[in-house]
Protein backbone atom coordinates (compact mmCIF):
# COMPACT_ATOMS: atom_id res chain seq x y z
CA UNK A 1 0.00 0.00 0.00
CA UNK A 2 1.33 3.38 -0.88
CA UNK A 3 1.64 5.53 2.17
CA UNK A 4 0.92 9.20 2.31
CA UNK A 5 -1.16 11.34 0.10
CA UNK A 6 0.27 10.75 -3.35
CA UNK A 7 -2.11 8.86 -5.52
CA UNK A 8 -0.87 6.48 -8.14
CA UNK A 9 -3.71 7.30 -10.44
CA UNK A 10 -4.81 10.78 -9.45
CA UNK A 11 -7.51 11.28 -12.05
CA UNK A 12 -9.22 8.03 -12.83
CA UNK A 13 -11.92 7.85 -15.47
CA UNK A 14 -15.23 7.30 -13.75
CA UNK A 15 -17.83 5.05 -15.28
CA UNK A 16 -21.57 4.99 -14.94
CA UNK A 17 -22.97 2.46 -12.54
CA UNK A 18 -25.34 -0.12 -13.93
CA UNK A 19 -28.92 -0.22 -12.77
CA UNK A 20 -30.46 -2.68 -10.41
CA UNK A 21 -31.12 -6.18 -11.57
CA UNK A 22 -34.51 -6.51 -13.24
CA UNK A 23 -36.49 -9.23 -11.59
CA UNK A 24 -38.43 -11.59 -13.76
CA UNK A 25 -41.42 -13.67 -12.83
CA UNK A 26 -39.32 -16.81 -12.47
CA UNK A 27 -36.92 -14.98 -10.10
CA UNK A 28 -39.77 -14.54 -7.71
CA UNK A 29 -41.17 -18.01 -8.15
CA UNK A 30 -39.98 -19.98 -5.12
CA UNK A 31 -40.43 -23.28 -6.92
CA UNK A 32 -37.96 -22.50 -9.67
CA UNK A 33 -34.33 -23.40 -8.92
CA UNK A 34 -32.32 -20.24 -9.54
CA UNK A 35 -28.88 -20.92 -10.84
CA UNK A 36 -26.23 -18.45 -9.77
CA UNK A 37 -25.59 -16.31 -12.83
CA UNK A 38 -23.02 -13.76 -13.99
CA UNK A 39 -25.15 -10.84 -12.91
CA UNK A 40 -25.47 -12.17 -9.40
CA UNK A 41 -21.70 -12.50 -9.06
CA UNK A 42 -21.27 -9.05 -10.56
CA UNK A 43 -23.70 -7.62 -8.01
CA UNK A 44 -21.59 -9.13 -5.23
CA UNK A 45 -18.38 -7.48 -6.36
CA UNK A 46 -19.38 -4.28 -8.11
CA UNK A 47 -19.73 -2.23 -4.94
CA UNK A 48 -16.36 -3.26 -3.47
CA UNK A 49 -14.44 -0.08 -2.67
CA UNK A 50 -11.27 0.83 -4.48
CA UNK A 51 -8.44 0.99 -1.90
CA UNK A 52 -7.31 4.33 -3.28
CA UNK A 53 -10.45 6.20 -4.35
CA UNK A 54 -13.84 6.63 -2.73
CA UNK A 55 -15.31 4.86 -5.72
CA UNK A 56 -16.53 1.37 -6.34
CA UNK A 57 -14.70 -1.10 -8.55
CA UNK A 58 -17.59 -0.78 -10.99
CA UNK A 59 -17.26 3.00 -11.21
CA UNK A 60 -13.57 2.61 -12.04
CA UNK A 61 -14.38 -0.13 -14.57
CA UNK A 62 -12.09 -2.49 -12.65
CA UNK A 63 -14.89 -5.05 -12.75
CA UNK A 64 -17.39 -5.53 -15.56
CA UNK A 65 -20.19 -8.00 -15.92
CA UNK A 66 -18.78 -9.33 -19.19
CA UNK A 67 -15.62 -10.38 -17.36
CA UNK A 68 -17.53 -12.58 -14.93
CA UNK A 69 -18.00 -16.20 -15.91
CA UNK A 70 -20.10 -18.52 -13.80
CA UNK A 71 -20.86 -22.16 -14.31
CA UNK A 72 -23.26 -23.16 -11.57
CA UNK A 73 -23.41 -26.78 -12.70
CA UNK A 74 -19.63 -27.13 -12.52
CA UNK A 75 -19.40 -24.93 -9.42
CA UNK A 76 -16.89 -22.57 -10.97
CA UNK A 77 -16.60 -18.79 -10.97
CA UNK A 78 -14.02 -16.85 -12.97
CA UNK A 79 -13.56 -13.12 -12.55
CA UNK A 80 -11.18 -10.96 -14.53
CA UNK A 81 -10.45 -7.49 -13.17
CA UNK A 82 -8.75 -4.60 -14.91
CA UNK A 83 -6.39 -2.40 -12.84
CA UNK A 84 -6.83 1.31 -13.67
CA UNK A 85 -3.15 1.63 -14.56
CA UNK A 86 -0.62 -1.03 -15.67
CA UNK A 87 1.67 -0.49 -12.68
CA UNK A 88 -1.00 -0.36 -10.03
CA UNK A 89 0.53 -1.60 -6.78
CA UNK A 90 -2.96 -2.17 -5.41
CA UNK A 91 -3.71 -4.94 -7.93
CA UNK A 92 -3.09 -7.79 -5.48
CA UNK A 93 -5.17 -6.12 -2.79
CA UNK A 94 -8.06 -5.52 -5.21
CA UNK A 95 -7.90 -9.13 -6.41
CA UNK A 96 -7.77 -10.36 -2.83
CA UNK A 97 -10.81 -8.28 -1.91
CA UNK A 98 -12.78 -9.74 -4.82
CA UNK A 99 -11.69 -13.24 -3.86
CA UNK A 100 -12.58 -12.79 -0.19
CA UNK A 101 -15.96 -11.31 -1.06
CA UNK A 102 -16.79 -14.32 -3.23
CA UNK A 103 -15.37 -16.83 -0.72
CA UNK A 104 -17.62 -15.38 1.96
CA UNK A 105 -20.73 -15.09 -0.20
CA UNK A 106 -20.79 -18.25 -2.30
CA UNK A 107 -21.45 -21.84 -1.24
CA UNK A 108 -18.24 -23.76 -0.41
CA UNK A 109 -18.57 -25.95 -3.49
CA UNK A 110 -17.49 -23.09 -5.78
CA UNK A 111 -13.96 -22.88 -7.19
CA UNK A 112 -13.15 -19.21 -7.46
CA UNK A 113 -10.52 -17.94 -9.89
CA UNK A 114 -9.68 -14.24 -9.79
CA UNK A 115 -7.28 -13.01 -12.43
CA UNK A 116 -6.12 -9.81 -14.06
CA UNK A 117 -7.63 -9.09 -17.50
CA UNK A 118 -4.89 -10.32 -19.88
CA UNK A 119 -2.54 -7.59 -21.00
CA UNK A 120 -3.62 -4.93 -18.51
CA UNK A 121 -0.94 -5.13 -15.85
CA UNK A 122 2.86 -5.22 -15.83
CA UNK A 123 3.04 -7.97 -13.19
CA UNK A 124 -0.02 -9.86 -14.36
CA UNK A 125 1.51 -13.32 -14.05
CA UNK A 126 2.95 -12.77 -10.56
CA UNK A 127 -0.29 -11.29 -9.24
CA UNK A 128 -2.37 -14.10 -10.75
CA UNK A 129 -0.07 -16.74 -9.26
CA UNK A 130 -0.30 -15.20 -5.82
CA UNK A 131 -4.10 -14.93 -5.97
CA UNK A 132 -4.37 -18.56 -7.10
CA UNK A 133 -2.19 -19.84 -4.24
CA UNK A 134 -4.76 -20.74 -1.59
CA UNK A 135 -2.06 -21.35 1.01
CA UNK A 136 -0.72 -17.82 0.65
CA UNK A 137 -4.24 -16.39 0.57
CA UNK A 138 -5.03 -18.30 3.78
CA UNK A 139 -1.86 -16.99 5.42
CA UNK A 140 -2.61 -13.43 4.25
CA UNK A 141 -6.07 -13.56 5.77
CA UNK A 142 -4.59 -14.56 9.13
CA UNK A 143 -2.70 -11.27 9.08
CA UNK A 144 -4.98 -8.96 11.04
CA UNK A 145 -3.81 -5.66 9.55
CA UNK A 146 -4.17 -6.93 6.00
CA UNK A 147 -7.56 -8.40 6.83
CA UNK A 148 -8.62 -5.04 8.16
CA UNK A 149 -7.73 -3.31 4.89
CA UNK A 150 -9.59 -6.00 2.92
CA UNK A 151 -12.63 -5.61 5.16
CA UNK A 152 -12.50 -1.87 4.58
CA UNK A 153 -12.68 -2.46 0.84
CA UNK A 154 -15.60 -4.80 1.39
CA UNK A 155 -17.56 -2.53 3.71
CA UNK A 156 -20.47 -0.93 1.99
CA UNK A 157 -19.73 2.75 1.90
CA UNK A 158 -21.63 4.42 4.65
CA UNK A 159 -21.75 7.58 6.69
CA UNK A 160 -18.58 7.04 8.73
CA UNK A 161 -16.55 7.05 5.53
CA UNK A 162 -18.08 10.29 4.44
CA UNK A 163 -17.32 11.71 7.81
CA UNK A 164 -13.73 10.71 7.60
CA UNK A 165 -13.58 12.23 4.19
CA UNK A 166 -15.19 15.43 5.22
CA UNK A 167 -12.91 15.90 8.15
CA UNK A 168 -10.30 17.15 5.81
CA UNK A 169 -12.57 19.04 3.54
CA UNK A 170 -14.49 22.22 3.67
CA UNK A 171 -17.78 21.11 2.40
CA UNK A 172 -18.06 22.11 -1.18
CA UNK A 173 -19.10 19.18 -3.27
CA UNK A 174 -16.37 19.64 -5.81
CA UNK A 175 -13.45 19.76 -3.46
CA UNK A 176 -15.09 16.88 -1.65
CA UNK A 177 -14.10 14.66 -4.49
CA UNK A 178 -10.48 15.60 -4.69
CA UNK A 179 -9.76 15.68 -0.99
CA UNK A 180 -11.79 12.68 -0.23
CA UNK A 181 -9.41 10.65 -2.33
CA UNK A 182 -6.60 11.96 -0.28
CA UNK A 183 -8.31 11.04 2.91
CA UNK A 184 -9.23 7.57 1.77
CA UNK A 185 -5.59 6.74 1.18
CA UNK A 186 -4.77 7.88 4.66
CA UNK A 187 -7.47 5.77 6.20
CA UNK A 188 -5.56 2.54 6.71
CA UNK A 189 -2.83 4.40 8.57
CA UNK A 190 -4.79 6.98 10.51
CA UNK A 191 -7.98 5.61 11.85
CA UNK A 192 -10.86 7.92 12.48
CA UNK A 193 -12.59 7.58 15.75
CA UNK A 194 -16.21 7.26 14.79
CA UNK A 195 -17.40 8.42 18.16
CA UNK A 196 -15.68 11.77 17.86
CA UNK A 197 -17.37 15.10 17.30
CA UNK A 198 -16.38 15.12 13.65
CA UNK A 199 -19.05 12.60 13.16
CA UNK A 200 -21.90 14.92 13.82
CA UNK A 201 -20.33 17.92 12.21
CA UNK A 202 -21.21 16.81 8.72
CA UNK A 203 -24.59 15.31 9.24
Amino acid sequence: MSAGGRLENANPVIFQRSGERLLTASDEDEDVHDRIDDREIFDLIRSINDPEHPLSLEELNVVEQVRVKVNDAESSVGVEFTPTIPHCSMATLIGLSIKVKLLRSLPDRFKIDVQITPGTHASEEAVNKQLADKERVAAALENSSLLEVVNQCLTTRSMPDLICICQVVSLSVQSWYMNSCFCWTLMPQSKVDSSSENYIMII
Binding site: R109, K129, E135, R136, A138, A139, E142
Partner: protein, 329 residues
Amino acid sequence: MKEALSLVQRVSAHPDSRCWFVSWNPSGSLVASCGGDKAIRIWGREGDSWICKSVLQDGHQRTVRKVAWSPCGNYLASASFDATTCIWKKKDDDFESLTVLEGHENEVKCVAWAPSGNLLATCSRDKSVWVWEVDEEDEYECVTVVNSHTQDVKHVVWHPTQELLASASYDNNICIYREEDDDWECRATLQGHTSTVWSLSFDATGQRLASGSDDRTVKIWKEYPNEAGQDLSWKCVCTLSGYHGRTVYDVAWCPLTGILATASGDDAVRVFKEDESTGPDQPVFSLAAQVTKAHSQDVNCVAWNPKEAGLLATCSDDGDFAIWRFHED
Protein backbone atom coordinates in the same frame (compact mmCIF):
# COMPACT_ATOMS: atom_id res chain seq x y z
CA MET B 1 -11.41 -51.12 -14.45
CA LYS B 2 -10.93 -53.95 -11.99
CA GLU B 3 -9.31 -51.71 -9.41
CA ALA B 4 -11.38 -49.49 -7.19
CA LEU B 5 -11.10 -47.11 -4.31
CA SER B 6 -13.78 -47.63 -1.69
CA LEU B 7 -14.55 -45.44 1.27
CA VAL B 8 -13.87 -46.98 4.67
CA GLN B 9 -14.78 -44.00 6.80
CA ARG B 10 -15.24 -40.26 6.66
CA VAL B 11 -14.52 -38.18 9.75
CA SER B 12 -15.18 -34.52 10.42
CA ALA B 13 -11.67 -33.80 11.68
CA HIS B 14 -11.50 -30.00 11.74
CA PRO B 15 -15.08 -28.70 11.56
CA ASP B 16 -15.62 -25.21 10.15
CA SER B 17 -12.01 -25.16 9.08
CA ARG B 18 -9.60 -26.67 6.61
CA CYS B 19 -7.91 -29.98 7.15
CA TRP B 20 -4.50 -29.29 5.63
CA PHE B 21 -2.59 -32.51 6.17
CA VAL B 22 -2.70 -36.02 7.59
CA SER B 23 0.20 -38.26 8.58
CA TRP B 24 0.38 -41.92 9.65
CA ASN B 25 2.64 -42.95 12.49
CA PRO B 26 5.32 -45.50 11.47
CA SER B 27 3.33 -48.47 12.78
CA GLY B 28 0.22 -47.34 10.89
CA SER B 29 -1.93 -47.40 14.02
CA LEU B 30 -2.49 -43.64 14.39
CA VAL B 31 -3.24 -40.74 12.06
CA ALA B 32 -2.39 -37.15 12.98
CA SER B 33 -4.44 -34.42 11.29
CA CYS B 34 -3.89 -30.66 11.38
CA GLY B 35 -5.76 -27.64 10.13
CA GLY B 36 -6.82 -24.03 10.07
CA ASP B 37 -8.31 -24.31 13.57
CA LYS B 38 -4.70 -24.34 14.94
CA ALA B 39 -5.26 -27.82 16.38
CA ILE B 40 -3.70 -31.23 15.81
CA ARG B 41 -5.83 -34.31 16.36
CA ILE B 42 -4.63 -37.86 16.81
CA TRP B 43 -6.93 -40.58 15.49
CA GLY B 44 -6.82 -44.27 16.32
CA ARG B 45 -8.80 -47.29 15.27
CA GLU B 46 -11.28 -48.71 17.69
CA GLY B 47 -13.12 -51.70 16.30
CA ASP B 48 -14.17 -50.66 12.82
CA SER B 49 -14.04 -46.94 13.26
CA TRP B 50 -11.50 -44.18 13.70
CA ILE B 51 -11.92 -42.06 16.79
CA CYS B 52 -10.14 -39.00 18.17
CA LYS B 53 -7.60 -40.09 20.79
CA SER B 54 -6.21 -36.68 21.66
CA VAL B 55 -6.33 -33.04 20.67
CA LEU B 56 -3.11 -31.03 20.70
CA GLN B 57 -4.01 -27.41 21.23
CA ASP B 58 -2.27 -24.25 22.38
CA GLY B 59 0.94 -25.23 20.63
CA HIS B 60 0.41 -22.76 17.82
CA GLN B 61 -1.07 -19.30 17.37
CA ARG B 62 -2.00 -19.80 13.72
CA THR B 63 -2.82 -22.52 11.16
CA VAL B 64 -0.95 -25.81 11.55
CA ARG B 65 0.07 -26.57 7.98
CA LYS B 66 1.76 -29.96 8.26
CA VAL B 67 2.66 -32.65 10.77
CA ALA B 68 5.31 -35.39 10.71
CA TRP B 69 6.05 -38.40 12.93
CA SER B 70 9.59 -39.29 13.92
CA PRO B 71 10.76 -42.71 12.60
CA CYS B 72 10.48 -44.15 16.15
CA GLY B 73 6.89 -42.92 16.40
CA ASN B 74 7.42 -41.23 19.77
CA TYR B 75 7.61 -37.67 18.51
CA LEU B 76 5.39 -35.52 16.35
CA ALA B 77 6.56 -32.30 14.71
CA SER B 78 4.10 -29.62 13.60
CA ALA B 79 4.80 -26.76 11.18
CA SER B 80 2.72 -23.63 11.56
CA PHE B 81 1.97 -20.30 9.90
CA ASP B 82 3.03 -18.74 13.23
CA ALA B 83 6.64 -19.22 12.02
CA THR B 84 7.43 -21.96 14.54
CA THR B 85 7.74 -25.73 14.54
CA CYS B 86 6.57 -27.54 17.64
CA ILE B 87 7.93 -30.91 18.80
CA TRP B 88 5.49 -33.06 20.74
CA LYS B 89 6.51 -36.09 22.77
CA LYS B 90 4.24 -39.05 23.27
CA LYS B 91 3.59 -39.71 26.94
CA ASP B 92 1.41 -42.70 27.70
CA ASP B 93 -1.67 -41.98 25.61
CA ASP B 94 -1.17 -38.25 25.39
CA PHE B 95 1.27 -35.79 23.92
CA GLU B 96 3.15 -32.96 25.56
CA SER B 97 4.88 -30.04 23.94
CA LEU B 98 8.60 -30.67 24.28
CA THR B 99 10.14 -27.73 22.48
CA VAL B 100 9.42 -24.98 19.98
CA LEU B 101 11.81 -24.39 17.09
CA GLU B 102 12.04 -20.75 16.13
CA GLY B 103 14.02 -18.92 13.50
CA HIS B 104 12.04 -18.78 10.28
CA GLU B 105 10.96 -15.27 9.32
CA ASN B 106 7.42 -16.25 8.42
CA GLU B 107 5.08 -19.19 7.80
CA VAL B 108 6.66 -22.63 8.19
CA LYS B 109 5.16 -24.74 5.40
CA CYS B 110 6.54 -28.20 6.04
CA VAL B 111 8.56 -30.36 8.41
CA ALA B 112 10.15 -33.79 7.83
CA TRP B 113 12.31 -36.25 9.80
CA ALA B 114 15.34 -37.97 8.34
CA PRO B 115 15.19 -41.81 8.38
CA SER B 116 17.74 -41.91 11.24
CA GLY B 117 15.55 -39.65 13.38
CA ASN B 118 18.57 -37.47 14.18
CA LEU B 119 17.79 -34.77 11.67
CA LEU B 120 14.75 -32.64 11.01
CA ALA B 121 14.14 -30.31 8.07
CA THR B 122 11.78 -27.33 7.94
CA CYS B 123 10.96 -24.93 5.12
CA SER B 124 9.19 -21.61 4.95
CA ARG B 125 7.76 -18.78 2.89
CA ASP B 126 11.02 -16.99 3.77
CA LYS B 127 12.55 -19.10 0.91
CA SER B 128 14.86 -21.07 3.16
CA VAL B 129 15.26 -24.71 4.18
CA TRP B 130 16.65 -25.38 7.67
CA VAL B 131 18.23 -28.60 8.87
CA TRP B 132 18.08 -29.28 12.61
CA GLU B 133 20.08 -31.82 14.58
CA VAL B 134 18.58 -33.65 17.54
CA ASP B 135 20.80 -34.96 20.33
CA GLU B 136 20.09 -37.58 23.00
CA GLU B 137 18.82 -34.95 25.44
CA ASP B 138 16.09 -33.94 23.02
CA GLU B 139 17.92 -30.70 22.27
CA TYR B 140 17.47 -29.27 18.79
CA GLU B 141 20.11 -27.24 17.06
CA CYS B 142 19.96 -25.67 13.62
CA VAL B 143 22.95 -26.90 11.66
CA THR B 144 22.27 -25.33 8.27
CA VAL B 145 20.15 -22.73 6.55
CA VAL B 146 20.04 -23.24 2.78
CA ASN B 147 18.75 -20.55 0.45
CA SER B 148 18.64 -22.31 -2.90
CA HIS B 149 15.09 -21.35 -3.77
CA THR B 150 14.08 -17.90 -4.95
CA GLN B 151 10.51 -18.18 -3.61
CA ASP B 152 8.28 -19.66 -0.93
CA VAL B 153 9.33 -23.28 -0.17
CA LYS B 154 6.26 -25.54 0.00
CA HIS B 155 7.49 -28.99 0.90
CA VAL B 156 10.49 -30.95 2.19
CA VAL B 157 10.95 -34.71 2.16
CA TRP B 158 13.82 -37.02 3.11
CA HIS B 159 15.10 -39.95 1.08
CA PRO B 160 13.74 -43.21 2.61
CA THR B 161 17.15 -44.57 3.58
CA GLN B 162 19.85 -41.94 2.97
CA GLU B 163 20.52 -38.50 4.39
CA LEU B 164 19.36 -36.85 1.22
CA LEU B 165 16.78 -34.07 1.31
CA ALA B 166 14.46 -32.74 -1.40
CA SER B 167 12.43 -29.51 -1.41
CA ALA B 168 9.69 -28.11 -3.66
CA SER B 169 8.92 -24.44 -4.22
CA TYR B 170 6.71 -21.68 -5.59
CA ASP B 171 9.67 -20.93 -7.91
CA ASN B 172 8.61 -24.08 -9.89
CA ASN B 173 11.80 -25.96 -9.01
CA ILE B 174 12.83 -28.91 -6.88
CA CYS B 175 16.17 -28.90 -5.05
CA ILE B 176 18.08 -31.91 -3.73
CA TYR B 177 20.54 -31.45 -0.88
CA ARG B 178 23.32 -33.51 0.64
CA GLU B 179 25.75 -32.85 3.42
CA GLU B 180 29.17 -31.83 2.21
CA ASP B 181 31.88 -31.07 4.80
CA ASP B 182 29.45 -30.27 7.61
CA ASP B 183 27.40 -28.11 5.31
CA TRP B 184 24.19 -28.92 3.50
CA GLU B 185 24.31 -27.88 -0.11
CA CYS B 186 21.94 -28.01 -3.03
CA ARG B 187 23.42 -30.71 -5.30
CA ALA B 188 20.76 -30.74 -8.00
CA THR B 189 17.98 -28.46 -9.23
CA LEU B 190 15.14 -30.22 -11.02
CA GLN B 191 13.51 -27.92 -13.56
CA GLY B 192 10.48 -28.82 -15.63
CA HIS B 193 7.30 -27.82 -13.88
CA THR B 194 5.74 -24.61 -15.18
CA SER B 195 4.15 -23.55 -11.90
CA THR B 196 4.39 -24.08 -8.12
CA VAL B 197 5.55 -27.53 -7.03
CA TRP B 198 3.36 -28.44 -4.05
CA SER B 199 4.52 -31.87 -3.05
CA LEU B 200 7.17 -34.57 -3.38
CA SER B 201 7.31 -38.29 -2.66
CA PHE B 202 10.18 -40.76 -3.03
CA ASP B 203 9.49 -44.33 -4.11
CA ALA B 204 10.50 -47.17 -1.75
CA THR B 205 14.03 -47.39 -3.12
CA GLY B 206 14.61 -43.65 -3.17
CA GLN B 207 15.86 -43.81 -6.76
CA ARG B 208 12.79 -42.03 -8.04
CA LEU B 209 10.85 -38.98 -6.93
CA ALA B 210 7.29 -37.96 -7.82
CA SER B 211 6.26 -34.29 -7.82
CA GLY B 212 2.81 -32.68 -7.99
CA SER B 213 2.31 -29.16 -9.27
CA ASP B 214 -0.03 -26.25 -9.88
CA ASP B 215 0.61 -26.89 -13.60
CA ARG B 216 -1.81 -29.85 -13.13
CA THR B 217 0.82 -32.49 -13.87
CA VAL B 218 2.73 -35.09 -11.91
CA LYS B 219 6.34 -35.70 -12.90
CA ILE B 220 8.49 -38.72 -12.17
CA TRP B 221 12.20 -38.00 -11.72
CA LYS B 222 14.94 -40.61 -11.71
CA GLU B 223 18.45 -40.47 -10.35
CA TYR B 224 21.25 -41.27 -12.77
CA PRO B 225 24.86 -41.98 -11.87
CA ASN B 226 27.06 -39.06 -12.76
CA GLU B 227 30.43 -39.74 -14.40
CA ALA B 228 32.05 -36.69 -12.88
CA GLY B 229 31.04 -38.05 -9.49
CA GLN B 230 30.24 -34.60 -8.23
CA ASP B 231 26.75 -33.20 -8.60
CA LEU B 232 23.73 -35.44 -8.51
CA SER B 233 21.94 -36.07 -11.75
CA TRP B 234 18.14 -36.34 -11.82
CA LYS B 235 16.05 -36.45 -14.98
CA CYS B 236 12.33 -36.28 -15.60
CA VAL B 237 11.39 -39.70 -17.04
CA CYS B 238 7.60 -39.36 -17.12
CA THR B 239 4.93 -36.65 -17.00
CA LEU B 240 1.34 -37.47 -16.11
CA SER B 241 -0.75 -34.79 -17.76
CA GLY B 242 -4.40 -34.49 -18.70
CA TYR B 243 -5.69 -36.28 -15.61
CA HIS B 244 -6.09 -33.44 -13.14
CA GLY B 245 -8.64 -30.65 -13.61
CA ARG B 246 -6.90 -28.33 -11.17
CA THR B 247 -3.76 -28.04 -9.02
CA VAL B 248 -2.15 -31.26 -7.77
CA TYR B 249 -1.69 -30.51 -4.07
CA ASP B 250 -0.16 -33.79 -2.97
CA VAL B 251 1.40 -37.00 -4.24
CA ALA B 252 2.11 -40.17 -2.28
CA TRP B 253 4.07 -43.15 -3.46
CA CYS B 254 3.08 -46.26 -1.51
CA PRO B 255 6.25 -47.88 -0.08
CA LEU B 256 4.55 -51.30 0.00
CA THR B 257 2.81 -51.52 -3.38
CA GLY B 258 4.51 -48.86 -5.54
CA ILE B 259 1.12 -47.33 -6.32
CA LEU B 260 0.95 -43.56 -6.72
CA ALA B 261 -1.93 -41.49 -5.28
CA THR B 262 -2.69 -37.83 -5.96
CA ALA B 263 -4.76 -35.14 -4.24
CA SER B 264 -6.18 -32.40 -6.42
CA GLY B 265 -8.01 -29.09 -6.26
CA ASP B 266 -10.70 -30.65 -8.49
CA ASP B 267 -11.95 -32.59 -5.38
CA ALA B 268 -10.73 -35.92 -6.78
CA VAL B 269 -8.41 -38.61 -5.48
CA ARG B 270 -6.64 -40.60 -8.17
CA VAL B 271 -4.51 -43.73 -8.09
CA PHE B 272 -1.92 -44.56 -10.75
CA LYS B 273 -0.19 -47.86 -11.44
CA GLU B 274 3.03 -48.37 -13.30
CA ASP B 275 2.83 -50.58 -16.37
CA GLU B 276 5.10 -53.53 -15.73
CA SER B 277 6.17 -53.96 -19.33
CA THR B 278 7.90 -50.60 -19.62
CA GLY B 279 11.57 -49.95 -19.01
CA PRO B 280 13.03 -47.92 -16.14
CA ASP B 281 14.02 -45.02 -18.38
CA GLN B 282 10.57 -44.52 -19.86
CA PRO B 283 8.05 -45.69 -17.32
CA VAL B 284 4.36 -45.48 -18.15
CA PHE B 285 1.74 -44.90 -15.48
CA SER B 286 -1.94 -45.44 -16.05
CA LEU B 287 -4.96 -44.37 -14.07
CA ALA B 288 -6.05 -47.36 -12.01
CA ALA B 289 -8.88 -45.76 -10.04
CA GLN B 290 -10.33 -42.38 -9.24
CA VAL B 291 -13.04 -40.94 -7.04
CA THR B 292 -14.13 -37.70 -8.71
CA LYS B 293 -15.99 -36.29 -5.73
CA ALA B 294 -13.83 -37.78 -3.00
CA HIS B 295 -14.43 -34.65 -0.93
CA SER B 296 -16.80 -31.71 -1.33
CA GLN B 297 -13.85 -29.32 -1.69
CA ASP B 298 -10.13 -29.36 -2.63
CA VAL B 299 -8.25 -32.48 -1.55
CA ASN B 300 -5.09 -31.34 0.25
CA CYS B 301 -3.31 -34.54 1.15
CA VAL B 302 -3.01 -38.24 0.36
CA ALA B 303 -1.12 -40.64 2.65
CA TRP B 304 -0.65 -44.41 2.36
CA ASN B 305 -0.65 -46.49 5.51
CA PRO B 306 2.97 -47.64 5.96
CA LYS B 307 2.00 -51.15 7.16
CA GLU B 308 -1.38 -52.02 5.68
CA ALA B 309 -1.12 -52.15 1.89
CA GLY B 310 -3.81 -50.19 0.05
CA LEU B 311 -5.12 -48.20 3.00
CA LEU B 312 -5.18 -44.51 2.04
CA ALA B 313 -5.94 -41.42 4.14
CA THR B 314 -7.01 -38.15 2.50
CA CYS B 315 -8.10 -34.75 3.79
CA SER B 316 -9.77 -31.68 2.42
CA ASP B 317 -10.70 -28.01 2.68
CA ASP B 318 -14.13 -29.27 3.79
CA GLY B 319 -12.49 -30.15 7.15
CA ASP B 320 -12.93 -33.91 6.75
CA PHE B 321 -10.43 -36.67 6.61
CA ALA B 322 -11.31 -39.94 4.95
CA ILE B 323 -9.91 -43.44 4.87
CA TRP B 324 -10.09 -45.43 1.62
CA ARG B 325 -9.19 -48.93 0.60
CA PHE B 326 -7.65 -49.62 -2.78
CA HIS B 327 -8.72 -53.01 -4.15
CA GLU B 328 -7.23 -55.01 -6.95
CA ASP B 329 -9.28 -58.02 -7.96
